[in-house]
């Protein structure tokens, strides 16, 4: 018996999105009080990293749902309601993360904050925090009836529920194949951009004569591919969770994705890379990071394509 299992991981990580959003929003507000751009950058970096960390929180939640639904002493209604709220909160935490990435990318290029960021993050941060706190409190109902808020707080909510997403994907024969197609197109775009940028850092051939700043322009195309793949990937996972949560390569894939995601932030914001002029050689450490980034994306592709073959969950 391993000393920690996947549902247990959900309990370890489930406070990260809520607490992280509080920290991100707090740093963001503090950056105005202290008039510090460094703090503002840091708050956006926190928002991006929280978006990244929320993915394993959501996925381990699915595994926890699979493990305890139907057992004595747990409220299935509370589990379903928690999933619905968590899905909505997850959607907003991801939107906040993507917008934060875009702001960081723009900061890097313009060297000054764009006017739209202040109202955007105030709004996104507060909405995300409210939704996340709501999802968390309903989650608490699952095992802790002593803190019961009220029956109405648990009732199914609105049209954006896990059941409706599952219905959307499985009721029509073309949604799954169409999403798979988009997932592969997104993969190509993402991999193409990041392969080129990392090849520059490795100093491959004539690419050393390219300034890093000019390749930085391409990063949003890679991010677009990542966005398409996050949305289509979540459709698969919510519609057929059993194919993924009981599948070992799926966890390899998510592990590689976390490494690659942190790397994406590194490529976007770090001064050392931005300063690379035509002909400059990247530092050894940056080359090692570039190689690990390519390795992580290859790992994502390998584990993803191997999902039906290594595990027997399909």
């Amino acid at each position: 018996m391993p000393f920690v299992n996947v549902p247990h991981l959900h309990l370890l990580m489930n406070h990260v999105p809520t607490v992280g959003t509080v920290i991100g929003l707090g740093l963001f507000l503090l950056s105005f009080v202290r008039r510090s751009e460094h703090l503002r950058h840091a708050s956006l970096e926190v928002f991006f990293l929280i978006a990244l960390a929320s993915l394993p929180v959501y996925l381990t939640g699915l595994a926890a749902q699979g493990a305890i639904a139907g057992s004595a002493g747990v409220s299935d209604a509370a589990i379903a309601a928690h999933h619905d709220r968590a899905m909505l909160a997850f959607t907003f935490v991801e939107i906040t993360g993507f917008v934060a990435w875009l702001a960081l990318w723009q900061f890097r290029r313009l060297a000054r904050p764009a006017g739209w960021t202040a109202p955007a993050f105030l709004l996104l941060g507060v909405v995300t925090l409210a939704l996340m706190a709501d999802a968390a409190s309903v989650g608490g109902e699952i095992r802790h009836p002593e803190i019961k808020i009220s029956e109405t707080a648990i009732a199914a909510s609105g049209w954006f529920t896990a059941a409706s997403v599952e219905g959307f994907v499985t009721n029509s024969p073309w949604v799954w194949p169409a999403a798979e197609t988009l997932h592969f197109i997104g993969l190509s775009l993402l991999f193409g951009v990041l392969f080129l940028v990392n090849l520059r850092l490795l100093g491959a051939g004539a690419l050393r004569s390219v300034s890093y700043a000019s390749l930085h322009r391409l990063l949003p195309w890679g991010m677009l591919g990542l966005g398409v793949n996050l949305v289509t990937g979540m459709l698969f996972t919510i519609a057929a969770p059993d194919q993924y949560i009981n599948n070992t390569p799926f966890y390899w894939k998510m592990g590689c994705l976390m490494i690659a995601g942190v790397n994406m932030l590194y490529l976007t914001v770090f001064d050392k890379l931005w300063a690379l002029e035509p002909g400059d050689d990247a530092a050894f450490l940056d080359k090692a990071i570039a190689a690990s980034s390519i390795g992580a994306w290859v790992g994502v592709i390998y584990a993803g394509r191997m999902l039906p073959f290594i595990g027997n969950a399909f």
Binding site: W176, P177, E180, T181, F184, I185, L187, S188, L189, L190, F191, G192, V193, F195, L196, L199, A204, G205, A206, L207, R208, S209, V210, S214, L215, H216, R217, L218, W221, P278, V298, I301, Y302, R305, M306, P308, F309, I310
Partner: protein
């Protein structure tokens, strides 16, 4: 059909090892990412929406494209032999091959148009832009057709 019954095809299809069908299919996916990814980045640059990356050093991308192409020609051929009687009569399969051919030819023509002349630095002509657009469309259609092969009978 003799091809599908050959020892190689049987191995690809039926060998009880992860190194046969599954690994070949995964290599095919990886080759797709390399080939289409590099080709797409090049096309985006030529269309003017991929920033101002200098064109001369980007020529290295053709080597990346060809690397992906050869991986996929070999793995694609192996996957075809394993399933020849099904694929050989599937219109969708030939649609895919047709658009792969258009994609490959457009990449060759792009290299000729952009890098073939004596202009230094290379200039992006209207023809090069049209070819870049054609190549993007061809890859999207090829991936769509290829992916749908798994779902359409």
């Amino acid at each position: 059909m003799w091809l599908e019954g050959s020892a190689l095809a049987t191995w690809v299809r039926e060998a009880p090892t992860i190194l046969a069908f599954a690994t070949i299919l995964t290599l095919h996916t990886f080759g797709m990412g390399v080939l289409v990814g590099a080709s797409a980045v090049l096309s985006l640059r030529l269309l003017g929406v991929g920033g101002n990356v200098p064109l001369v050093p980007l020529r290295i991308l053709f080597r990346v494209v060809w690397g992906g192409f050869w991986i996929n020609l070999v793995t694609g051929t192996l996957l075809f032999t394993a399933d020849a009687t099904t694929r050989g009569v599937q219109p969708l399969y030939f649609i895919k091959l047709f658009f792969v051919a258009i994609g490959v030819v457009s990449v060759i023509l792009i290299e000729r148009h952009v890098y073939g002349g004596n202009t230094d630095p290379p200039v992006v002509s209207a023809t090069a832009k049209r070819l870049a657009f054609l190549s993007l469309v061809a890859w999207v259609v090829a991936i769509t057709a290829g992916r749908l092969l798994a779902y359409v009978r």
